[in-house]
């Protein structure tokens, strides 16, 4: 069952990619637009990850330490992007930030264009990966022994010292895996980015968009080269998550 459904498609990427020899593969990979697309994907995903990890950390802290009215509603809202189709997410962003959008229409007269830029890609990445880091970090906060923080306080630490020396080290594993998940998800994002980026080659074209564009143009080799890179990249992140678990959770 697994063979035709999961394994063979992956194998075929590599088989087809290498069919014309490594030279061709390398040539396709180092094409200017291809390199740009990969770099853009990495950069936008990086910033989206930074934002979502910091936000996820903060939100998880607040949601698990304080009980306030509407907390559960807020948790559901934060987690919502998981369930929304990415094309819908991209469309929603367009409606808000686009030149005729709810907010965008006030920015457009000042020459501020949010959509169809790298910034738009980051916004889309943030939106679709929003709950990932939060979802990984919050359970760790929930199960954390409160007396550790109380002990730190009675020993004489300020809140900040307690967070830095006691709370954060216990969250290390969750933060790293949350970041990797977010990053992997953002690099592969397609549905929302194709709507908000404008898909301009060499300007707002991310790696998945590049694959799509080259495939449409019939340049299978160019698409295939990037596909191999993305597949290997996902495989790498997954391996890190899988094998580094012991290291991440070390006591």
């Amino acid at each position: 069952m697994m063979l035709p459904l999961v394994f063979l498609p992956l194998v075929s990427i590599f088989v087809f990619g290498m069919r014309n020899g490594l030279d061709k593969f390398w040539g396709a990979l180092t094409a200017q637009e291809a390199v740009f697309a990969l770099k853009l994907s990495m950069a936008t995903s990086f910033w989206a990850t930074v934002f979502n990890v910091l936000f996820g950390l903060f939100a998880a802290y607040v949601m698990s330490r304080y009980n306030f009215w509407g907390r559960n509603a807020l948790i559901v809202t934060i987690s919502l992007p998981t369930a929304i189709p990415t094309a819908v997410a991209g469309f929603a962003l367009l409606l808000l930030w686009g030149p005729y959008g709810t907010l965008g229409r006030f920015l457009a007269p000042h020459g501020i264009q949010v959509m169809f830029t790298a910034g738009a890609i980051i916004l889309a990445n943030i939106f679709v990966t929003f709950p990932l880091a939060f979802g990984v970090i919050k359970p760790v906060f929930d199960t954390m022994n409160r007396s550790l923080e109380e002990a730190s306080a009675t020993i004489g630490a300020t809140r900040w010292q307690t967070f830095w020396y006691v709370t954060l080290p216990s969250l290390r594993g969750a933060i790293v895996s949350g970041a990797l998940l977010t990053f992997a998800r953002a690099v592969g994002e397609f549905g929302s980015t194709i709507l908000v980026s404008g898909n301009l080659a060499g300007r707002t074209q991310t790696a998945p968009l590049y694959i799509f564009a080259k495939f449409n143009e019939g340049q299978i080799e160019a698409a295939n080269a990037i596909a191999i890179v993305l597949a290997l990249f996902s495989f790498l992140i997954f391996s890190v998550l899988f094998f580094a678990r012991d290291w991440l959770d070390v006591d």
Binding site: N145, E150, S152, A153, Y165, S170, D251
Partner: protein, 415 residues
């Protein structure tokens, strides 16, 4: 004077007190920790009512109570992890009621030890000095001293999860001693350990505390632990202190029926005060009573422990023994270190205080057990071996000591 100066002064004093040569009469007489009129409410429920006690320098006080009695809340209030509704916490003369936990300088040994899992033993112990921005050299020296004090030198590079429960506890204590705490607070320190380790560890901790001379407050629900650990014991019941005193006083002169029954098995009989004696059924127990407290004809409870009961087959009452009654042995059971007997007391003359037709009644261990006229007696092994007693035999019952408490609920039947 600023808070920092206060802290410094208190610390300085503590350092001096650590040195036995300077621990003069003034220091030993001074109150290290005082809790004054503390009460606490959670919502509308009152959990503590007007709690006051002092702990002297180097003294160990045990707060003993059942779960839900409020003893943990007292500890958390002293530590600053909980705010009192009314009252004050005073550490070495400094009112710290308004201060947050981190500015109080108390050492809390949590039930779970709360060691930082990602830090080694060394780092855990040095944490208090590190956040106080002390020099590396000073931290290293203090950590070394403490490691040797708690005998964990060879475990310094280990993480808490690699240590046994007892070792973790010693790390937790060393971690607080590093910053010279005003007082050490132990929250159910042996709750998570098996009986053997528990007995061993509490002796170890007792010895350690004598060495460092830091005042300590323990919390426990285990009466045996309380009697062994404490210089004094405070029995907490439903948010107030029932009695505070030395283990001897608490055990032998309980102030209330609750204290008597919480600290072990207790027989409780009713009697009437008749000039310098208490009439219990047919017996007259002569006793010196506070005339202010007990009036002639007043109904009282007399409380005595199973080991205060002396049994003999003849009517000869040894000096110092109070003859109580004759009785039939209902049951003899062997419980390891001693022999335990249940006795049915012979019904005597009608008791002036009895509300039912029984002249005697009893409680053992829990107030709910009060129903029959039997009492519990224990005999040490040598006596049990020499004088065999069997169920069904008749014996003369005498008691060697007892406590008289007022019986507030009942008025004497006037005859």
């Amino acid at each position: 004077m600023s808070t920092e100066e206060n802290v410094l002064k208190a610390k300085q004093k503590l350092i001096e007190d650590h040195d036995p040569s300077t621990a003069s009469t003034t220091a030993s007489a001074q109150k290290a920790t005082s809790v004054v009129g503390v009460s606490k409410r959670f919502g509308k429920t009152s959990v503590l009512e007007n709690i006051s006690f002092d702990v002297a320098e180097g003294e160990a006080l045990v707060l003993l109570g059942a779960s839900g009695s409020g003893k943990t809340t007292i500890l958390r209030i002293i530590a600053g992890l909980e705010q009192p509704y009314t009252g004050h916490v005073i550490l070495h003369g400094r009112d710290v009621t308004e201060l947050p936990a981190r500015e109080r300088g108390v050492g809390v040994i949590f039930q779970s030890y709360a060691l930082f899992p990602k830090m080694t033993v060394e780092k855990n112990i040095g944490y208090g000095l590190k956040i106080r921005k002390r020099r590396r050299k000073e931290i290293r020296e203090t950590v070394n001293e403490l490691l040797s004090l708690v005998q964990l030198e060879e475990h310094r590079k280990k993480f808490p999860s690699q240590l046994s429960g007892g070792q973790q506890q010693r790390v937790a204590i060393a971690r607080t001693l590093a910053y010279k705490p005003e007082v050490l607070l132990f929250d159910e320190p042996f709750g998570a350990l098996d009986t053997q380790t528990r007995v061993h560890l509490r002796r170890e901790i007792r010895a350690l505390l004598r060495k460092v001379n830091v005042p300590a407050i323990f919390i426990t629900h285990d009466q045996e632990e309380a009697l062994e650990l404490g210089d004094r014991v405070a029995v907490i019941y439903k948010g107030h202190i029932e009695q505070i005193g030395t283990p001897f006083e608490i055990y032998n002169q309980p102030a209330t029926e609750y204290v008597a029954t919480f600290l072990g098995a207790a027989n409780i009989l009713e009697g009437v005060v008749r000039n310098n004696s208490v009439e219990v059924g047919p017996a007259r127990l002569s006793v010196q009573l506070d005339k202010q407290k007990f009036k002639d004809g007043e109904c009282v409870k007399i409380i005595f422990r199973p080991e205060d009961v002396s049994l003999s087959k003849t009517d000869f009452v040894r000096p110092g023994h109070h003859k109580l009654s004759t009785a039939v042995i209902e049951e003899v059971s062997f419980v390891g270190a001693y022999e335990r007997l249940r006795l049915q007391l012979d019904k005597g003359a009608t008791d002036a205080c009895a509300t039912d037709d029984s002249a005697f009644f009893l409680t053992t261990e829990t107030p709910e057990a009060r129903s029959t006229q039997s009492i519990i007696a224990t005999r040490p092994k040598p006596e049990a071996t020499i004088t065999k007693l069997n169920a069904g035999e008749r014996v003369v019952v005498a008691i060697t000591s007892f406590t008289v408490l007022p019986l507030n609920q009942k008025q004497p039947n006037q005859k």
